[in-house]
Symmetry: C2
Subunit: 218 residues, 2 copies
DNA sequence: GACGATTTAGACAATGCTGTCTAATTTTAC
DNA sequence: GTAAAATTAGACAGCATTGTCTAAATCGTC
């Protein structure tokens, strides 16, 4: 309801075909995510985008083309955000626990509670088998890259901080697993945790992580 | 292809309507999981079950009834297995690391790599929004109960083992998160890890868990 | 071997969706 | 203001699906 009003307002108020492409992509993401590929109807997307059905067929030749465009679009955005977050990984050891917890909050907020991230996760899990190459692409660009990049960051951090890590890849995977521990269940559907919950959860995760990998040294 | 042969062989060889009900439920789970609710066609299910379409309509009045029956059926099985696994949680401290790792392997194998478990997870994520009460039910009976039960088991274990746990619920959630750390990605679609991979992964998880929560004592 | 219940194959109407087409209308650019 | 490009509403064929119905075939049981 609300989404529809906003989207159609967008399409009508803004000018040019670019605005319509955006509006269509947003509406399509919404409907595909809600109904799955086969459940989503072009008409529904058209209404939600505030656009005529023919316009959709003009921009994206067929349903499958539109679907691919949606995935590509969301994936690009998610990846952009992801790497901007990774760039904020702590480099000093002064406030290790606090810095790591803040980093964990950023990661969770932007890569798990994010609308885009939830979309991509659901779409991958729903339609991943139908489009193996798409799935493969996401896998390499998303979790694959994150884990490796995070491992490298931990390796760098270990030079200046009292960390006793022998397998950095493992530590990175476990770090991610720990900070997602509390959000796993709620994340499967709509629930979005509050800022406070995110912080508490991150702090607990980091505390456990440091108990496992931190050296008592100073 | 293979599934079809097996299922129809079942339906034809075995006797009575009970066998057909089972055959239909299995085929329906398969197709619903592969295609989603709207993508799945009754005809496809009928063929895969080796049964006529009318028979399905005789047993389950309509598509939605069948869908509910599938969920209910799988959920019952998964829950049964789950609690039988929980009953094997270690009670002694002799071989803590090995026992916990073996327990983790059992849990992962039966509750994550399991066909049923994968089905239920995908179906919940795909159709959870369409059937909120179903989703709620799964949430309470599944992860909700597991976490609490596991917390109680850790509490009991802490009496006899050198464990320094102050929040048992948290420890339980983190234990589960850690033992799933390596399987997260592959689990989203078809990949099933080998026995050896499961063991290595579990061992690493338990090792980290004990580094965080184990006392050097004993 | 026969009777009652179940199952089957197939036809069937109703519905909804995709993707195309057209003719009218609006927007954009100059 | 005008001409070209984009958008719209609507009709349309083709197709798949759901759920019903019927008459024949098969099965379980006595």
């Amino acid at each position: 309801m609300k989404k529809f009003d906003l989207a159609s307002a967008d399409a009508r108020s803004q000018k040019g075909q670019f605005a319509k492409r955006v509006s269509i992509l947003e509406a399509a993401a919404d409907v595909f995510c809600r109904e799955g590929f086969s459940g989503a109807s072009i008409d529904e997307i058209a209404v939600e985008a505030g656009v005529s059905r023919q316009t959709i067929y003009n921009h994206y030749r067929e349903k499958e083309t539109l679907f691919m465009a949606v995935i590509q679009d969301i994936m690009d955005r998610v990846n952009g955000v992801l790497f901007s977050i990774l760039a904020t990984f702590p480099e000093r050891a002064d406030n290790l626990e606090e810095d790591l917890a803040a980093f964990a909050v950023r990661l969770n907020k932007n890569c798990n509670c994010n609308q885009d991230a939830k979309f991509i996760q659901k779409l991958i899990s729903t339609e991943g088998n139908r489009y193996p190459h798409l799935f493969q692409f996401w896998r390499e660009q998303g979790p694959g890259k994150t884990d490796r990049a995070l491992a490298a960051l931990f390796a760098r951090l270990a030079h200046v901080a009292p960390l006793d890590i022998d397998d950095f890849d493992l530590a990175a995977r476990q770090f991610i697993a720990l900070i997602k521990a509390d959000l796993q269940m709620g994340g499967l559907f709509g629930e979005t945790p509050s800022e406070a919950e995110l912080e508490i959860s991150a702090r607990k995760a980091v505390r456990t992580f440091l108990r496992a990998y931190g050296r008592p040294a100073a």
